[in-house]
Symmetry: D2
Subunit: 344 residues, 4 copies
């Protein structure tokens, strides 16, 4: 069978070896169900260490579930949750956050697919606090990295959180590709989250070497109290939670999660560099993590569609997402395919 080079998303890849080993190791003996087990407790301790903070961590299997639970811990049913209009929670979760919260997402525009503090400030000034005909501001969502592969700097996050907190909003970070952000910004998990004001983080490990392993990480103990009930009511509690907790514990146990993320980022940077040398190929968004958004000649797109490549189109643009273990042959073939079509 001819190889297929898949650049659709980082979730088409498998599990890292040590993650699989952790699953196998967790199979020994019995354990309490529903997260009341030693694997989960060790995982929580691991997160506390990695984030240098007291944290309450809830393991689950779905990224959409993780965002929805993290947001629901912050929001009231008549609340408004502010996000960028292209935020994943606003576009690709089929209304799950609204379903779990009973609240309304308010999408704001912003350059680079990012919210700007001034735009948030202005939106909040016009939000109609105390007017019962208006949904009331409760929380801010920051998608880091964004769905278009751009990054907020630590300073940008701090500035957004400052505005949010000054207006009484709590802050949720959608970190489906948290590893790629930490790797690219060369900062610590703490610097990217609670130190600049994030209250709840939905951290994804699935796209970076785990198997359906996500975590709601709560930096304020008071916010964690309702989460077990909201998770159960939302079908997010895992019967054998130990098998997710064991993955998450192993995930943060050493530097490999960041090594993988760095490699994926590097693959994307190199692919971008090689593709943009080709006439007619331009970046739609800066390449800051492992995602590329490109515009290219129609002939090149047609050629890609004939080749052994899988990728997504967004209107006229193409999207490539690189995994840490992206096949070098595949990337070479892709560059060759685009170059030949563009030059012919």
């Amino acid at each position: 069978m001819e190889p297929v080079y898949d650049l659709r998303s980082d979730n088409v890849g498998g599990a890292a070896p040590e993650i699989l080993e952790a699953i196998v190791a967790a199979n020994a003996g019995t354990a309490s169900p529903y997260g009341d087990d030693d694997y989960t407790r060790r995982m929580n301790a691991r997160f506390a260490s990695a984030f240098e903070h007291d944290v309450q961590v809830f393991p689950l299997s779905s990224g959409t579930g993780s965002n929805s639970i993290g947001l629901a811990a912050l929001a009231n049913p008549y609340g408004a949750i502010y996000c960028h209009e292209t935020a994943h929670i606003n576009t690709y979760e089929c209304g799950a956050p609204e379903f779990f919260m009973g609240a309304k997402l308010v999408g704001l525009p912003g350059a680079g697919f990012k919210l700007a503090p001034a735009a948030l400030e202005e939106a909040l000034a016009l939000a109609g606090r105390g007017n019962p005909t208006r949904v009331q501001p409760f929380a801010l969502n920051i998608t880091q990295p964004t769905d278009f592969g751009t990054l907020y700097t630590v300073a940008e996050i701090a500035a957004l959180c400052e505005v949010a907190h000054r207006h009484g909003l709590r802050v949720h970070m959608d970190g489906a590709r948290f590893a790629n952000a930490v790797a690219a910004l060369r900062c610590s998990p703490a610097e990217l989250t609670w130190r600049c004001g994030v209250d709840v983080l939905s951290l994804g490990a699935t796209k970076n070497g785990a198997i359906n392993a996500e975590a709601v990480v709560v930096f304020d103990r008071a916010l964690a109290q309702e989460i077990p009930y909201r998770m159960k009511r939302g079908g997010q509690v895992l019967s054998k939670a130990r098998f997710v907790s064991a993955q998450l514990e192993r995930y943060l146990a050493d530097d490999r999660w960041l090594q993988r993320a760095r490699q994926a980022n590097t693959n994307a940077a190199q692919l971008a560099s090689r593709l943009t040398e080709i006439p007619g190929v331009t970046l739609v968004a800066p390449v800051e993590i492992n995602m590329l958004f490109l515009r290219m000649p129609d002939a090149a797109v047609a050629a890609l569609d004939r080749g052994p490549f899988r990728y997504y189109k967004l209107g006229r643009d193409v999207r490539f997402v690189c995994r840490h273990d992206q096949e070098p042959d595949g990337m070479d073939a892709l560059v060759r395919c685009v170059r030949e079509a563009a030059l012919s």
Copy 2:
């Protein structure tokens, strides 16, 4: 470390060897996310074969999610879903079914923790069809086995489904311990489901050797159409669904799922037999699968609490659930502990 004998639930156990192997094997190469992959297609074919019927199967990680999605496929927001008052969906899912459906559960009493056709018939006669002040009957839930370890016979299920269908209700079966039912009743999966009128089955594999692997099995193609959207909105879609589908495919691939269920049932029967020989120990419910509900002298309960045993209490009663790999030493020790306390 002294051994602990855990009889709280069958979900305290681990994964069967071949299930773990299936996970490891599924780690080769890339695969489409969200269930659009070959593992999921093979799993669907396996279920079609095992159930001798065209089926649409949706893999997920949570039993509560599986029940909620299966029910939501059947119910309208102003609907009434009939179930036994002790049904798991009515008692131990923190309102998840109502949350996903937007409908109301109507719990009916019934001997043996089971619904009786006549009671359902009577409830439906008084339900106020067409009266907008009343929630409107939409579906019937049959929990098989019940939460108290009792079983509906195939004829009993058929009789309930006949009443339900005659009144325009669809039928959902909560099969969290479906294997134990099939093993105990010595019938085929088909006989226990669509052949007697079940429209949607929530089949659990987690309690019988899988890792967070559940399936919504739809026997009527029309009912399956909305499920992908409802799953996404409910945070039930798995990014790397192949790892759940691979388990489910392997689960039904040979007879081992039933062997394990039979062994678990046998363990419970033997434990019941030995314990009820002890003066003062009586069954609260018949032992038909791998669960025992017993009343025993206070001294025996106190002795159990001092020993290396884990189990649940329900008011004055105690509950033991046996796994297929329940430690024989543990069962011996438990019988000894109760006998000595009861006789002293």
Copy 3:
């Protein structure tokens, strides 16, 4: 046209003269919309005076809306609200309370269609506080009078509230026929509500001489804060609220609301007395307000169905509800009709 005697419900009647006058009077000039008007402020003051307590009162048009808003102010989305299994909110509101609350009603049995403190105590003891698989107790609903026309004494309400408060539950009273209860018990509005522990009252005026005028009366200021938002989100805020507030203000302005209620109660008592003298006619529930539930010979029911009477049947029983302006001719005719049929 031959007269029709309607005993279906007290909401088949019209408005009292002074209530209509209040509507007409409120039509002078302009007023702020949405309840921010002087009519509403005067109404609030009137309620404070009538209830001898600081109260926050919210005018609305629907009794179901009033119950749902009053309950939603007390409940969390994973909450359990305890009520009698025959409570109106549990049987005749098509799931509205659950819709507004996102919570679950737990219906308990109880003699006389009333909750007993011991039954509530026992249910709460088994409720699984802190167990995320269980909906968590948040509130108690007392339907006073009950849907079967029975009454809680002040002492009974106090005892229920004591149990509820001791377990951390807030108390909601469904007072759709509050006037009939106050009239029958010869107590003050205060004695029947906050003095014995009621936190929120849904007071209905519609069944006793008003036009779609209901009030959510909150006795604890903290509970009132979310109500304006929940009302707006639930479509319960009235654009020209002054026309409801003016009714409610007038309603409590003098003794006529109680005079009407007393007369309705008296009508029912006399009707009961006359009917139960007839052989074969027996009361199903004691007649404590303006409602009668009777069992009577089939011939009598058949005769009623041929006559100019309107009433409801509940299974084998018949229900009559008396208005304050129930036509004496109609009651005479009804007694005559039943007597002749029963004796023939």
Copy 4:
């Protein structure tokens, strides 16, 4: 007491004389509750005549409730409802439509506060039909007139409905000021609704001389079937519905509703004409009905705030809404106040 001139909204006014008379007349005798009465049947017939079409009409008291019920009849819980980003349902109903539908509003930009067919077409092309990660298009909302007082022509509505229906969407019209639109466009109710493709109309009478009287008007009988249940569940069913139905029947019984709307529109046109003659006063939106949005010198705004005027500000702009019975003295005084401040 000095007069106050209130230009905040048309709902600060009272009821038209014939509407009040209709309420008083409806007080005779008894009537079935919940809309099963002759007043409601006559009202339905009146609407059928006025709209020249078989219609199902549901009376209610809240405009927000009317929009929410009308939309919920069209939408699925994972649905997307397209509207202009400034649509009332998207901005001033505190999330009620989402609450009733369980679906998501998708706000689109558009000149003149109106949706353009091309923009809708483009949005639908990118909506991801059949992709479970995306909310699925179900309905279109047209707010006619818009919240900024602009109007869609009949041709514009027809063009939007054509796009919507071609993509399988149903169309809801928010007609809170339907009378003003009909009056301004000099078309018939039929021409503005079903003849150009509207499936459900939420018609408001409250802002044009009625008392909390709104109607959900359904032009396709199949869409009406669920509405009674959804209304009851949403607390929108009125116990004494006859008093709303009687208003609605009288409202459409002759030409007075349009006379009032025409007068209100004329008042606004004249006020706009006089104000825009003043230097520094400009229109923010064209004046097509009874609403004016103006930008004016700060000194003029300050002067208005000192005078006996009530009006709303939206950021830097001011909004005036004229009633049919707007006081001429008040409009003169307002013009004088602005002119003097602007010229000083």
